[in-house]
């Protein structure tokens, strides 16, 4: 198990990777990526039980599905630094002939990715299917998924939410990145979703909050608690409160950096705020 200091170093390095990746190609989604850095670093290095190497079926290990595929920069950085593919490959993000497509895909054979995502609202159904396969295979490992809060406006999620509770898919932990922002503004302004905890509970889910979604210790503690609640007849929803753009001050608390890359000057400021720890790619 890594120490907290090691995870903090990894988090800071991942933030550098994110802003460097989107800066280089002047495209991509830094805001949500930065907001979910602590979550994904914790998940892949502390929470999930993972085998060495990668095979698509993932029998005998925990699985993760990224439904909000636009936060691919953080996903790619975390996968690379966990050893799924060479860290230098982050250099190819969004470039022609790269395995690191704008949104994650299995199509180019990138290890660590098990489903394409980008068109929103599809990941929970896929995660449920994978969780059902685990049950059929008598594999006691868990399935994790991550969804944007704005993404819950897609109706397919609610089909999936209804199904998972009705069929006791209790080896699934679906986390909602509750940053309150989407492309056109605050989620409350674009399409208010009301009380998400009450909605998930009404559908029959076990719901947990992680109030400090950008604090490593809180995320780890919360996700371990979520893990302990699996296997009891209910799917688990974690409402993870994050700050979009976390760790780069001018990107924080706004939807402005949802899908916009920093310029040279802004990159320099961002990097200054996140000192190199493990070596840039």
């Amino acid at each position: 198990m890594p120490t907290l200091q090691q995870l903090e170093d990894l988090t800071r390095q991942t933030r550098r990777d994110i802003i460097r990746m989107v800066h280089k190609v002047n495209s991509g989604h830094p805001g949500g990526s930065l907001g979910c850095t602590e979550f994904l670093v914790s998940l892949y290095n502390e929470v999930m039980d993972l085998k060495d190497g990668f095979d698509m079926d993932g029998v005998g290990e925990d699985l993760f599905f990224l439904s909000n595929g636009h936060i691919s920069p953080v996903f790619y950085s975390v996968l690379a630094r966990r050893g799924y593919f060479p860290i230098e490959e982050l250099n190819t993000f969004r470039l022609i002939n790269s395995r690191l497509q704008g949104h994650p895909t299995t199509h180019e054979g990138l290890p660590g990715v098990r489903i394409a995502s980008g068109s929103l609202g599809q990941g929970m159904s896929v995660a449920i299917g994978a969780a059902l396969a685990k049950k059929l295979n008598n594999d006691s490992h868990l399935v994790y998924s991550l969804h944007g809060d704005g993404e819950l406006q897609e109706g397919q999620n609610w089909e999936a939410i209804m199904y998972a509770a009705g069929n006791k898919v209790d080896n699934l932990i679906a986390t909602i990145d509750l940053n309150g922002q989407q492309i056109d503004g605050a989620t409350d302004d674009v399409l208010p979703m009301g009380d998400l905890r009450a909605k998930f509970e009404a559908f029959g889910w076990e719901v947990m909050d992680i109030e400090e979604g950008n604090d490593l210790e809180s995320v780890i503690k919360g996700m371990k608690e979520a893990k302990s609640r699996t296997g009891k007849g209910k799917p688990i929803c974690v409402l993870l409160r994050t700050i979009m753009g976390n760790g780069v001050d001018f990107m924080m608390h706004t939807h402005a950096w949802h899908g916009k890359a920093p310029n040279d000057e802004q990159l320099a400021i961002g990097l200054e705020q996140n000192a190199e720890t493990l070596g840039d790619y």
Partner: protein
């Protein structure tokens, strides 16, 4: 001319159900999903024998496609079942991203395709599904002609790695394919050799093509009849070989002429061997309520329509 005998009318969806029953007994990785249409898809026997490998999804087709994609991760071979309209148009983006682009081994099995769904009307009679599915990279598209062939196709697609769209229908139709005929994906079947015209048909129109060929023989026209059960990948060689002999072709399908089998064949001919072609297909229209026979008559999809198309295309040679 070879004679084909109807072994007794049966529905192609029952062929699917029978195929699933056999797969349930022979392939432990096969799982079945359904969106509230067990009876229509004839899968009761599979469910009875394999309750743990059946997933009732409810009226939520988008979720069904996603769950099917997820089930492949862990080695399952999911067969989804609902009407053709709800198997394709309703869930196009789910199929596109979570199944086709993600290279998932999902079998999308679609009943009640086309006009022969009958009285329910145009909301349920999809005539665009072949086009939608064949446009997806990596998707195999199959439209078998009768009960026996649908059963054989159902069994065959379990052995094929990759996404498949299997299209079948509601009404009881002639069952003339030998029960022991092995189904080969992408391999056209020569049903009747002829010299004056090629008739290439798929699905329910294959039997109609055989009747048309018989009627044409009485008029002195020798028609070659080919059953193209696999629209993608298309057996281009079989089509080219035939038209090089006959010099003209009629394509027949229970589908819009835009996006269907006929268009796939027209592309092959235009690039490799330009040949006069007539289309027996719906003419960019929705369907309506009526009996299957009335609808096939009104929209020009029966043996008479094929016969007329043959006479027309021969004049163009």
């Amino acid at each position: 001319m070879k004679k084909y005998i109807d072994q007794g009318k049966n529905d192609t969806r029952s062929g699917y159900g029978a195929g699933m029953t056999e797969l349930g007994r022979t392939n432990p990785n096969v799982v079945v999903l359904c969106a509230d249409l067990i009876g229509s898809l004839k899968i009761n026997q599979f469910i009875e024998e394999n309750p743990d490998r059946f997933f009732q999804i409810g009226i939520a087709e988008a979720n069904m496609m996603g769950i099917a994609a997820g089930l492949t991760i862990g080695g399952k071979i999911p067969f989804t079942g609902t009407f053709a309209n709800f198997s394709t148009g309703r869930v196009y983006d789910q199929i596109r991203q979570s199944i086709a682009y993600s290279d998932k081994n999902v079998k999308i099995c679609a009943s009640h395709a086309g006009l022969t769904l009958g009285e329910d009307g145009a909301t349920h009679q999809i005539l665009e599904d072949i086009g939608l599915m064949k446009m997806l990279p990596g998707m195999t598209v199959i439209n078998p002609c009768d009960y026996n062939q649908t059963k054989a196709a159902t069994i065959a697609i379990a052995e094929h790695e990759g996404p498949v769209y299997l299209r079948f229908g509601r009404p009881k139709v002639a069952n003339f394919t030998p029960a022991d005929q092995k189904f080969e994906i992408g391999k056209a079947l020569m049903l009747n050799e002829g010299t004056d015209v090629t008739i290439v048909a798929t699905g329910h129109l294959v039997w109609e093509a055989l009747i048309a060929a018989e009627n044409l023989e009485n008029q002195g026209v020798s028609a070659e009849v080919i059953n193209i059960h696999t629209i993608k990948p298309l057996d281009e060689e079989a089509v080219l070989k035939s038209v090089k002999k006959t010099g003209c072709i009629v394509t027949a399908e229970e589908h819009n002429h835009l996006g269907g089998l006929g268009e796939s064949i027209a592309r092959v001919l235009a690039t490799k061997h330009p040949t006069p072609q007539e289309f027996v297909a719906t003419n960019d229209t929705f369907g309506e309520s009526g009996t299957p026979a009335q609808l096939m008559e009104k929209y020009g999809l029966n043996n008479k329509a094929i016969e007329q198309a043959v006479l027309n295309v021969i004049k163009r040679t």
